[in-house]
Amino acid sequence: MNLTFREAMLTFKRAPLLSALSVTTIAFSLFVLGLFGLVVVNLQDALRSVEERVEVVAYLLPGAPVEAVAQALKDIEAFPEVQSATYVSEDDALARARAELVELRDVMQELERNPLPASIEVKLKPGFRDTDHVSAVAERLRGFGFVDDVRFGRDWVEKLDRLRGLAAAVGIVVGAAFAVVAIIIIGTTIRMAVLQRSREIAIMRLVGATDGFIRRPFLLQGAIKGLLGGGVAIGLSFGAYVLINRYLLQSAFFTQEQAAAIVAFGALIGLLGSSLSVGRHLKRV
């Protein structure tokens, strides 16, 4: 292993310019990927705050028995999808309407009878805030005898679904495109390295080196280049993030896990690019 490492390092020493070039290219393609990732991360943050407002409201029939409602609240909170269930009485509803609908305050003041029904407001756990789960919960709420009607913003829950799907799809396509570019670049630099060292490889073969032995330093070298490229890309992304925050808008950066994943992804495409390239070119020298 340390022999493999020594041979891989030797390549950096022998062709420093070529190595720096490939690290830089990988860094920049991962950087673009990283910028796009930042957009996705921030978009997801925004989506999440919208999602938090997804709720299902069950309006109760007038005169629903208090004990039954209290029991129902417990049952509903025990649903696997449910984060919280809150009882809103007729009076609470009126007070809230008064506070929120200032322009109608006078009308409300003159009401003899409270026209607003009591309700149970149900918030869902993250991951369940999509059409299927929301409808399922709504359906179950309808099953309670004292529930008159169940409402949720079906339209925009569906829109949210589509937005989420779109963000994921674009992320995968752009990510794949840049991964392919990086793999091709690594493959090309490995190809140059193999050709540059073809005489050396022939000599290794003559003294009895196995193909695996010859290949390993190239793979390691590719992985190291990818790793370095990934690290530089994170650095560049962080620089961009700082600038954006200072001059444009408040935004979020990658979590440590996400940053580590990007660096690991760099190493992975480095490994992939070199393994795709080295086998093919070793056969030719």
């Binding site: 005489r199 290794m204 003559l206 003294v207 009895g208 196995t210 032995f213």
Partner: protein
């Protein structure tokens, strides 16, 4: 040890390089492989170290059948051979010592034993003092000694030398040849391709002569050499 039986070798574009060649080199033997340029000497060598496979006939080397060897056995065969070429084939950016050590590292030899084994063979070829020199800092003769040390370090049963003195002046040639004789004297079989007939006449060794791909003389079998007749202009 090395056994050719009715070996033919045809190259895709190049016609027949070997025609019906049969010979056997025993353990510890020294054999010259002679013949004009293009006679097929290097082809014989390549078949021995499994760089090429025979078109027909059988090549056996040190227990391996080159005809039907699996690719992954080829490195194993080569570790039992030492190979030396006219153009030395040293790694330019490694010192003499590192060049020799490399042949050991490739085999997965224990790291703790490498340095000592390398110094021993460098001493054997008379280059211990130049262990830290790079190939460009060495004369042709010295470079060939490094190459021989590299070939020896795995303690091969056969040393293959394809015109090892082809690039050397007379003095260096004598030195390298003497080294090969010493190596042979200590029990390693040597197959040496050469067209230096003076060298061949100097020593009482077996001579195998090729002409346009055919084996025309083998001193272990025949009485007189056609070379002796052809040598007169």
């Amino acid at each position: 040890m090395i056994k050719f039986t009715n070996v033919f070798k045809a190259f895709p574009k190049g016609g027949l390089a070997l025609k019906d060649v049969s010979f056997h080199v025993a353990k510890g033997e020294f054999a010259f492989l002679t013949g004009h340029s293009g006679a097929g000497k290097s082809t014989v060598m390549k078949l021995i170290y499994a760089d090429e496979r025979p078109t027909s006939g059988e090549v056996r080397v040190s227990g391996y059948n080159v005809n039907e060897m699996r690719p992954r056995d080829v490195p194993m065969l080569r570790r039992r051979l030492g190979i030396v070429f006219q153009d030395f084939r040293l790694l330019e950016d490694r010192t003499a010592e590192e060049n020799v050590a490399f042949a050991l590292e490739v085999t997965g030899a224990r790291v703790s034993t490498i340095a000592a084994r390398v110094m021993r063979v460098l001493t054997q070829v008379g280059l211990a003092a130049k262990a830290q020199a790079y190939p460009r800092e060495l004369s042709g003769g010295e470079q060939q000694r490094v190459a021989i040390a590299r070939a020896l370090v795995n303690e091969p049963t056969v040393l293959l030398a394809d015109e090892p003195t082809g690039n050397l002046d007379e003095r260096a040639t004598r030195g390298v040849f003497q080294l090969l004789r010493d190596i042979n004297a200590s029990g390693t079989a040597v197959v040496m391709a050469t067209h230096d007939l003076d060298l061949v006449r100097q020593a009482p060794y077996r001579v195998i002569e090729l002409q346009e791909g055919a084996l025309v003389y083998d001193s272990a079998v025949d009485e007189a050499s056609p070379r002796d007749q052809a040598a007169a202009p």
